[in-house]
Symmetry: C2
Subunit: 397 residues, 2 copies
């Protein structure tokens, strides 16, 4: 009598969630300092002071009825103007409030965007490795998912693979850069080539192919890495943004959808976004948080803690002998498992209290994801465990 | 290339939204004090002091990473325990944290609950007059909507009408008491009879029929009116709650779903709720707000302003000669239009700067909804306009 699809989605917790539960149990048994849990992508740096100051400031200075009242479904006009101005200034892309729809975070941005543009049977391309929920969201919108494997070792787009996957039913492709789980930022060359490729395919099939740019990690990049802003290169783009990672407020659920005005039917797409949000019960994004992120627009997170972790982990592991993708952004390290079966490798890592996520749910095999948004001590203390694990495999050879 | 359903949902703003836009324009022309806008159900009393105190208190005392971090998808455990305890104490209904799923408000509660239980082709019954978005939400879940007219003048459930509508495809019925748009609270007798009726139908058709109780107005009742808590009377119940109206924070989007543990497959239903939330991108309800409403659980709103409006408006209008449903709760008055065509009546009311909502979008004809969550002066100043409108109709006779 229930929707079996929803029941199974609700019952089958993600593999990440399962590790999280194991971790809780194990920490209770042997002490949390002895468990090296690298499973969750939960920011480990506090929100910038400006976030809490903004919240308190609004409460002290704003009329309660205005502050906590409904905003329009698209979001508060002033908030949207602030964000649009910031997009134009930072990325040299035209943007107005009428292109911005405030959402409850990146997941909502994605489900709403997909629902707006997908008709039953349309195909959505995921570039593997991809964030597992992308598949859930695309299927929820009625799409058929096609996975396209990226090219090792840096997981840039493989155009010969993409060529084989794009067809007359292709409606969208989700691009997630900086990437979860690899931390890789797609190069400007890669984005330019993708843009040319898709423009050609649009012509060939006489239909639109939209890039849905999932960008929660845009602000989390190291060594002055530049993340190309896709609407600058490809007109038919919807950007899904979230402040979860940049402002370390993942629980507050606040982000936006930017429908590029350069899109041919941009205005109607925006209407469809409004309709999709409405159909799923997103009345408006939390009003206090809308104002807060607008007040904090442009504030850069202090990434020094993540960067320190990144270097220590990448250098530590490669020195031992592991092979890993050097991450440009986000807070994940993608490491080659020491046997073909990544799940078996993760099981063996547990012996050393190392909790890693096998890459299979990200659409590729043979890797593990290590989320390094943890305390630095955990990185430092875990390296001997990684070394023992490595030795165990090498003694077998 | 877009989803035409979403496009039309996004383009066709509700009639309420259209009046709101007209109102803005008209206020700019003749001054806002001269426009009597009764269209929007936006709370007009400030949030209780405890809400803002709680928010500031959490920011000052909580660790930032915990406070703004993800909660579990169902919501923070302590928050859910607080709410479950409150349900048990106030309504004498068993409830535990495992029955509570925190949401982004009543609309999200409804879309998630419906998606969890509906299979393509299932029928959902709406008791007219109903909140127009109920139809949007039920259809989004893939349900076929059946409207059942309630019995005038008090709009209690009409069981002979209901008898004709319930069939082997009926899967759920949405009950909204206190009701938007009538303000009527369904009596205990009505709820008991509904419960008996549905239990019989469940037996007859050998399938579950779930009551989805949409209760954002539960706390907004006058004259010590008691609102029967449906899970006490009917086992197969899901309660959709929101703090929007009780705490005057509609923009903050916070509420919950309570899956009655007395439901036969309560545990699986809860899983399906989790799956439905996940599929639509509801990662968790805003964490700061979750904690805030738990801290404010049990705080009663000061309804004196609404009650004063209610009395002034109801007495003022009936004295003039209008016929209206005396509201027990919420902040709406449902008034008989002075001609059959409610939309035409509303057009004529505009001449006197009275902005009312015709009842057609609520599934009944011949009435108007007046939202009296406005300043008292607006009520007082509008009565002469209502009188002129009434005279205009009577002079024609």
């Amino acid at each position: 009598m229930l929707s079996q699809k929803m029941l199974s989605l609700g019952k089958k917790s993600s593999s990440i969630r399962e590790i999280f539960e194991y971790s809780k149990k194990r920490k209770a048994e042997i002490g949390s300092e002895n468990v090296f849990d690298f499973s969750l992508g939960n920011p480990s740096i506090p929100a910038p002071k400006e976030v809490d100051d903004a919240i308190k400031g609004f409460i002290d200075s704003f009329d309660s009825i205005d502050l906590h009242g409904y905003t329009s479904a698209q979001g508060d006009m002033q908030v949207r103007e602030t964000i649009a101005k910031s997009i134009t200034e930072r990325f040299d892309v035209p943007a107005s409030a009428n292109n911005i729809y405030m959402t409850c975070g990146a997941a909502a941005s994605l489900t709403i965007s997909l629902k707006a543009i997908i008709n039953e049977g349309d195909e959505v391309i995921l570039l593997a490795p991809y964030f597992p929920e992308h598949k859930v969201f695309a299927e929820n919108a009625g799409a058929v998912v096609r996975e396209v494997l990226c090219k090792e070792p840096r997981f840039e787009i493989d155009f010969s693979e993409l060529e084989m996957a794009v067809n007359k039913n292709t409606r969208a492709i989700i691009v997630n850069s900086p990437n979860n789980p690899t931390g890789v930022v797609l190069s400007e060359d890669n984005i330019k080539r993708l843009s040319e490729f898709l423009n050609e395919k649009q012509k060939q099939f006489g239909r639109e192919i939209t890039i849905i740019a999932d960008e929660p990690y845009r602000e989390l990049v190291y060594d002055d890495e530049v993340v190309p802003y896709i609407p600058k290169y490809y007109d038919n783009t919807i950007v899904c943004y979230s402040y979860s990672k940049s402002l370390s407020i993942p629980g507050e659920r606040i982000g936006y959808i930017f429908v590029s005005p350069k899109m041919e039917n941009s205005e109607d797409t925006f209407f469809a976004v409004c309709g999709a949000g409405r159909s799923m019960g997103y009345v408006c994004a939390p009003s206090l948080l809308q104002r807060t992120v607008a007040a904090c627009e442009g504030i850069k997170p202090d990434l020094s803690a993540y960067d320190k972790n990144r270097k220590a982990l990448y250098e530590g592991l490669t020195k031992i002998g592991y092979s890993a993708v050097r991450p440009d952004g986000a807070f994940y390290l993608f490491v080659k498992a020491l046997e073909e079966d990544a799940a078996a490798f993760c099981e063996r890592a547990k012996k050393y209290e190392l909790l890693l996520v096998p890459s299979d749910s990200f659409g590729v095999s043979g890797y593990v994801r290590i989320a390094y948004c943890v305390g630095y001590e955990q990185i430092a203390n875990s390296l001997p465990a990684f070394e023992m694990l490595y030795k165990e495999y090498n003694e077998e050879k």
